[in-house]
């Protein structure tokens, strides 16, 4: 017997978490760029 409640939570929660973390990483990457350019002068 499949636990549909757990299945839905796994799928919706999992997909949401993946999306949320990657959005967080996207923001972090942007922040890193801004900070890098500010403090390191965009040193390559």
């Amino acid at each position: 017997m499949i636990d549909w409640d757990l299945s839905i939570k796994t799928a919706v929660g999992g997909f949401g978490l993946v999306f949320g973390i990657l959005i967080l990483l996207m923001i972090t990457v942007e922040l890193t760029r801004v900070i890098t350019e500010k403090f390191f002068g965009g040193k390559k």
Binding site: I2, G14, F15, L22, T32, R33, T36
Partner: protein, 448 residues
């Protein structure tokens, strides 16, 4: 018996072994003649051949069958060296039967007819190639490949180490130059969850469905890692599905992209040059990603930690020897061990089941829907972006680095010869690898 001296494998060889050898030969043919993932399919194919040659013992596990209750042995239903199917009766006691929980062959019969046995006394040792739940039916690997499989794959050592090598081979530059592409990699994980639900609907258990869904992440080590934790009995099918479809990306992805985009959309021009990413950004990214992701999803630590440390070797500039080893010798060694072991997890008795066919079908659905979701999100993003992106790069979110990015590049050039989409597609491509590792970690965290 050969000259009455030694046993040959012929008495135990059946049509299933022959069919598996034919499938293995097809994989090896595709690798050699068509150049499809040769570094993976050649050893996987050869591992399949080895494990389907009876009595070779390469993938054998020894298991001791015990009497379920005390009694007297009334009949011994088999002989030493003889093969049996799962559920076969090995011997009958006056108080019940001793049934084999796996397929295999008898190694040694320890009791005789008429002998009294106590509850839990060993009545026979058997050899099997089936993965068992060690808590219920403990077994120990006694073959070369079963040892590699047990201690490399089941102990979850080889897949994360493979991820370390992939990290050392991955350039996150295109993704860092255009961080929006992280969203496309995230969208592509939709395929994972769609296949997960479909697997549940056709009757797979939750852990099996998660192992099947993660095929859509298009990352071999992630698929193997998740399967080894959640559903080791289907690891051969999920791994072969994943690696085969990675090789078939040029066939699977283009129709999906064409179906979801117009000719005009496929022709959208993107500037070939990306922003130059500084060395500091490239060093900070693996550090901060490991910290953020592992804090949120601790069960992704093995994959994400190894992926990011490998990438740090590549980017930091002071670990040249480690970078070089991870990119060359080490990745080759891990590939040999991992792929031979995966090939060896496919004896006919394990692989030739209706559920294998279902796994292969669900795997292709997972791949196709992952690419489709990436394309659709790219189209959605274009509604808000001033500088439009070519939606085809969303299709590269399916990971399969760098194959899917190359496919997008080829398709882009066909539509608009001036378009060079490769570096743009590499962004969602590597983001997809990160997304798949997180999705795998989430599955393990919830269902493991």
């Amino acid at each position: 018996m050969l000259f009455g001296l030694m046993e040959t494998g012929f008495p135990l060889f059946y049509w299933g072994n022959a069919l598996m050898i034919v499938i293995a030969l097809i994989l090896i043919y595709l690798a050699i003649a068509k150049d499809m993932e040769p570094l993976l399919l050649v050893p996987i194919g050869f591992g399949m051949i080895l494990v389907n040659l009876p009595l070779g013992g390469m993938m054998d596990y020894e298991m001791r069958l015990k009497a379920p209750q005390a009694g007297t042995v009334m009949e011994i239903s088999t002989q030493e060296g003889k093969g049996f199917d799962k559920g076969s009766v090995i011997c009958k006691l006056d108080s019940g039967e001793v049934v084999a929980p796996v397929f295999g062959r008898v190694g040694e019969l320890i009791v005789e007819k008429g002998q009294h046995v106590e509850k839990g006394q060993v009545v026979a040792s058997i050899f099997t190639m089936e993965q068992t739940d060690q808590a219920v039916y403990p077994s120990r690997p006694v073959g070369l490949l079963s040892r590699i499989f047990q201690y490399g794959v089941m102990w979850q050592i080889l897949p994360p180490l493979m991820f370390l090598c992939l990290g050392a081979l991955t350039d996150f530059g295109p993704m860092l130059a255009n961080p929006k592409t992280l969203l496309l990699g995230a969208a592509a994980q939709f395929g994972v969850y769609l296949a997960f639900f479909m697997a549940l609907f056709v009757g797979f258990t939750l852990p099996e469905a998660a192992s099947i869904g993660i095929i859509g992440g298009a990352e071999g080590p992630t698929t193997i890692y998740v399967s080894s934790v959640l559903a080791p009995h289907i690891i051969g099918a999920t791994a072969v599905a994943c690696y085969s479809y990675m090789a078939l990306v040029p066939i699977i992805i283009p129709p999906v992209i064409r179906l979801l985009t117009t000719k005009k959309e496929r022709g959208i021009f993107m500037k070939p040059s990306l922003r130059k990413v500084s060395k500091v950004e490239k060093i900070v990214f693996p550090l901060i990603t490991a910290i953020i992701v592992i804090l949120i999803v601790p069960t992704s630590a093995a994959l994400m930690g190894c992926f990011m440390v490998g990438n740090l070797f590549k980017e930091c500039g002071v670990t040249e020897r480690l970078r070089k080893t991870a990119q060359t010798t080490f990745v080759d060694l891990i590939t040999i061990f991992l792929t031979l072991a995966i090939g060896a997890s496919m004896p006919a008795q394990n692989f030739l089941q209706p559920k294998t066919l279902l796994i292969l079908v669900l795997g292709v659905i997972s791949f196709a829907s992952a690419a489709g979701a990436g394309v659709l999100l790219a189209k959605f993003m274009n509604l808000f972006l001033k500088v439009k992106i070519n939606p085809m790069i969303g299709g590269a979110g399916v990971s399969a680095v760098p194959m899917s990015a190359r496919v997008v590049q080829v398709m882009g050039q066909k539509e608009n010869p001036k378009n060079i989409l490769l570096m743009h597609a590499m962004g969602p491509n590597v983001a997809g690898a990160i997304g798949a590792a997180i999705a795998g970690g989430v599955f393990i965290g919830i269902l493991g």
